[in-house]
């Protein structure tokens, strides 16, 4: 699974996710990636989110939409919201994976409970950061 979230110069955030799913998946099985609210969500009222991992858990938790709701309705910082969903809720349910997020004010965040996630971030006036391992 791959994904990108972006904030443009007009202050608009957007999210995209694309995947092959899981090896030896039952044919017809659909994970969270194409499900708006689970693997992908974006609203200028909060943030844009893209997810990767065991899709069934991300669907059951509506991970992408819930992160946006925590930012919008509870005023959590972006990092606190992604950590709550990944390090607490997803982990407690037994799911594994990660998320990336960006907010209209330029906050960027990622969180994952696996041993690694291929990731990169770049922003106006900031050095690019690339990571693989925890």
């Amino acid at each position: 699974t791959v994904g990108v979230v972006a904030l443009d110069a007009d202050g608009v955030v957007a999210a995209g996710t694309s995947t092959g799913g899981v090896t030896a998946k039952r044919w017809g099985r659909v994970g969270d990636s194409p499900i708006i609210g689970a693997g992908t969500y974006a609203t200028n009222a909060a943030c844009a989110v893209s997810c990767t991992g065991a899709g069934e858990y991300f669907i059951r938790l509506s991970v992408a939409r819930t992160i946006c709701a925590l930012v919008e309705l509870k005023g959590l910082s972006l990092q606190a919201a992604v950590d709550q969903l990944v390090q607490r809720d997803l982990t407690k349910l037994g799911g594994e994976g990660g998320v990336i997020a960006v907010a209209p004010d330029g906050q960027m965040a990622w969180s994952f409970n696996t041993s690694g996630m291929y990731r990169a971030r770049i922003a106006d006036g900031e050095a690019m950061v690339v990571g693989i391992y925890k």
Binding site: V2, V5, T17, G21, A24, R26, G53, M117, E126
Partner: protein
């Protein structure tokens, strides 16, 4: 003018230093950096977040290092079924496709659903047919085939004691150097 920003991921899983040879580590870092720069180039030029996302994800879909597009994993039947979605935070417009097998860039198909149909989600052959009707690049399913993912499928099915599907007749005979760098991050159905 808002400050532009972009974050990308290439998948999460069992990815530890001990698992990646130095050349694999370098290859993944190089392409993640290239993906971020490609999206940033669109944003620096005043482009839309959606355009930056589509440009960046198309690179990832074409790179066999990642489980999306070319180099995606196989179903238990030996097919490649691709899913994608995209959403605009400014308008709450959204598009998604599931189970596409003949569209080179599923992220572009998802965007076409969002921008050129009254729907949010199209699945299966209907999604592929819609993508073709929008002039998106169609490919044979073998375009997505990589030996490394096929071997992962066979190992997984043997582990589960399930029948091994016939290897696609048009599968490329040999593995190219790029595909040989792919790390199997352990996503199992």
């Amino acid at each position: 003018m808002a400050k532009w920003a972009l974050v990308a991921h290439g998948g999460a899983g069992v990815i530890e230093r001990a698992h990646l040879r130095p050349e694999q580590d370098a290859a993944y870092r190089e392409v993640m950096g290239r993906v971020a720069q490609a999206g940033a180039a669109v944003l620096k030029a005043g482009g839309a977040a959606l355009d930056a996302i589509e440009a960046a994800i198309q690179i990832l879909e074409d790179d066999p290092l990642f489980n999306a597009g070319r180099g995606a994993v196989f179903t238990a039947q030996g097919d490649i079924e691709l899913d994608a979605s995209i959403m605009d935070g400014g308008t709450l417009a959204a598009g998604a496709v599931a189970g596409v097998t003949r569209t080179r860039h599923p992220i572009s198909a998802a965007r076409a659903v969002m921008e050129h149909s009254p729907h949010v989600f199209l699945g299966g052959e209907g999604a592929d047919a819609f993508a073709r009707s929008q002039g998106l690049e169609a490919v044979e399913p073998s375009f997505f085939f990589t030996e490394r993912r096929w071997k992962s499928l066979v190992r997984e099915l043997e582990r589960q004691g399930l029948p091994i599907p016939r290897r696609p007749a048009v599968a490329p005979a040999k593995e190219d150097a790029r595909t040989a760098l792919a790390h199997d991050e352990g996503k199992r159905g």
